[in-house]
Amino acid sequence: MSGIVVSTTVNGDPQDFVCAPGETLLHALRDRLGLTGSKEGCGTGDCGACSVTLNGRLVCSCLVLAAEADGAEIGTIEGVAEAGKLHPLQEAFIEHAALQCGICTPGILVAAKSLLERNPDPTDEEVRYWLAGNLCRCTGYDKIIRAVQAAAAQMREETHGV
């Protein structure tokens, strides 16, 4: 099997790897680059646990071929906190107990961050529909929605100053 050399930027850093032609981006991230924060819950794009951004767009990394990512910018959960400082969403998820087992949490955080970058003041319904592709089996979503809204409020406050 011939490997393909892929050059990417992951969380702002250059990352090259060799992958099999049929390998998914999720497997490359986890097994080639050691970035195991993205999780495989289904492998069919139905659970969202592998959510990453690809050139700024939210995608399921299980439905992207690693080879496609050549030249792309990838954002994963490992890049959400900057220099050890948690993102307001991360703070809010801990503060509002928006996780129980935590397996869906990386995907939900990546997805929620993508939402707030586009829509800093979403309604609850908009949050729920944006996150409909991120399954959580523990929380019933209630505290997740509250945490996203708390983080959104916090971020709006930071943007506009107090």
């Binding site: 959510s51 071929l65 080879a67 996150l131 991120n134």
Partner: protein
């Protein structure tokens, strides 16, 4: 398996023609699922996203040209397209989650040829066409003529869809698409309906098309449905007739997603509701 990042349309056509087990990759949201679950084992996957113009939406004299690799999320961000064809863009944006929208394309949805493909009834109702490239050059076809049955299309060896073409919006026209799923998101349509219609200044329908999905081997234009609406102001009686007519046209199957009886009646309900929304949009558009 080989992976090819195609640089030209002719590259793609040649590879498709040479390898009978080659697949086109645009958004990959169907292809990778089929590969991952081992339903297919491609010899070659051809990434078409880097072909010139294939990821662009352009407004032409005749309407919109939507490149085959334009993902749903990008459709939704195009103000001109969403305001002229709200039904089509809503249909495309119902496909899967936000994450799927980051990748899934209308062309892929069409060529995957699922009877339940969300954008197809809307495109048929809109009178959309596709641009097809192949070894012998480019040709055009009506969207309705592409799928022939589950997983099957009229595309010849070496051919692939390069763009979807939507006509310019006519004055006082509107379109709409509705589907039924058990949840609010993340499901495959159990029944669906797309509607397009145009009215005169008084609100009398002058032209109309209604298409159904998930209730036959392919999405289809409902014969005679448009005629039922023409000349009316979409009064309740007309809508009831439309519902019954559409329901009668359906020939669905029983499966894990729905029963024959359910699909037939819900297809009628959705056709009625979609026509009503399209009518309201036509009236608002003036």
């Amino acid at each position: 398996m080989q992976f090819l990042r195609a640089e030209s349309v002719s590259d793609v056509a040649r590879c498709l023609a040479e390898s009978p087990n080659a697949y086109v990759l645009a958004g990959g949201t169907d292809l990778l699922v089929q590969m991952g679950t081992r339903r297919i084992a491609p010899e070659m996957v051809i990434d078409i996203k880097h072909l010139p113009g294939i990821g662009e939406i352009t407004q032409t004299e005749n309407g919109f040209r939507i490149g085959a690799a334009v993902p749903g999320a990008k459709l939704g961000e195009d103000g001109a397209l969403t305001s002229e064809w709200p039904g089509v863009t809503e249909a495309a944006q119902l496909i899967g989650s936000t994450q799927i929208q980051g990748r899934a394309t209308m062309a892929g949805n069409l060529c995957n040829a699922s009877p339940a493909a969300d954008c197809v009834p809307a495109l048929i109702a809109a009178g959309a066409e596709v641009e097809i490239a192949g070894p012998d050059g480019t040709r055009m076809a009506a969207v309705a003529d592409i799928p022939t049955g589950p997983g099957k299309t009229t595309l010849a060896e070496g051919e692939f869809v390069t763009a979807i073409l939507l006509p310019k919006r006519q004055p006082a026209s509107g379109d709409a698409y509705l589907r039924f799923i058990p949840r609010t998101e993340m499901d495959i349509a159990v029944a669906s309906a797309g509607a397009w219609l145009q009215t005169d200044a008084d609100g009398t329908v002058t032209a109309a098309r209604v298409a159904l999905g998930a209730v036959a081997p392919t999405a289809y234009l409902v014969d005679g449905a448009g005629d039922l609406l023409v000349g009316t102001t979409l009064d309740d009686d007309t809508l009831k007739k439309l519902e019954a007519h559409c329901a009668a046209s359906a020939s669905p199957i029983d499966d894990k997603r729905g029963t024959v009886a359910f699909r037939i009646e819900v297809a009628g309900v959705l056709a009625r509701r979609a026509a009503k929304i399209a009518y309201e949009r036509a009236r608002e558009a003036k």
